[in-house]
Symmetry: C2
Subunit: 152 residues, 2 copies
């Protein structure tokens, strides 16, 4: 498969593919008689996995290291697994952080709703000058758990 097709199938531009190869994210590609890059299905799977690592917010330097290790073969399996486990933990931590932030947002949204119905002053400090210290964040009343969707 030539780079144009591969780009279409992988969702990465031809320029990006060449760039990734240059920096070592993709292995040196097999070339055809005329010097053009020739990609296989395995490359497609690897590109897809790279995109997942990116979607997980794994930093470029880590993706580079992972790629380098992969290129070294089976001897690096343990190291790679450790990297994935570490990143898994980071992801779980991020999920927890997001949950907290959603709660903050819910509280602030409720605060806004109060201000919209009444005729209060602005006072836009996040909706919780007093409480909010990462703990539980008790909703002011009970009308939270909504999204733009559930009211629009």
């Amino acid at each position: 498969m030539k780079i144009g097709d591969f780009a279409a199938k992988s969702g990465l531009s031809a320029d990006t593919l060449r760039y990734y190869e240059r920096i070592g994210l993709l292995p040196r590609t097999v070339r055809d008689a005329g010097g053009r890059r020739s990609y296989g299905m395995d490359d497609l799977a690897w590109a897809a996995f790279l995109r997942k690592l990116q979607a997980m917010d794994m930093p470029m330097r880590d993706r580079l290291e992972y790629s380098r290790l992969r290129a070294e073969g089976d001897a690096t399996l343990r190291t790679r697994r450790k990297m994935l486990e570490a990143h898994r933990d980071a992801l779980v931590a991020r999920q927890a952080e997001l949950a907290e932030l959603v709660a903050t947002l819910d509280a602030k949204i409720d605060h806004y709703i109060d201000m919209e119905s009444g005729t209060q002053e602005s006072f836009d400090d996040g909706g919780q000058t007093h409480d909010d210290r990462g703990s539980g964040i008790a909703p002011p009343r009970e009308r939270s758990r909504r999204g733009a969707s559930a009211r629009a």
Copy 2:
């Protein structure tokens, strides 16, 4: 409070604070007799909230728009609430995506463990050339739900 103190308390550098003011993320600061910026507690609360928006991955353009709306006063309350609700939804979607990615990672980690114990070939394509289509992702065996922590 002068910019140095404020920087220390807000966690943003003085340069960043001036930069934020320039681009409109922070309102034009009150100046003292000598022309120096003078910050109050309300600014501190706003800076903290801006950091939360950033931690939520709200794009800079949206934070700018939100700040601009806030500067316009109470007339924009509804609009701001809508923005927060929309971003709340984005956050919840991201949480779901992360949950999927964690599952992918778990599957791949298990795959690695298999390869480490046996003496298989490399075949590093993400650990699931066959399955994995965003659905459930059944763990190959039952030994998942670990982190770097739980084994190290």
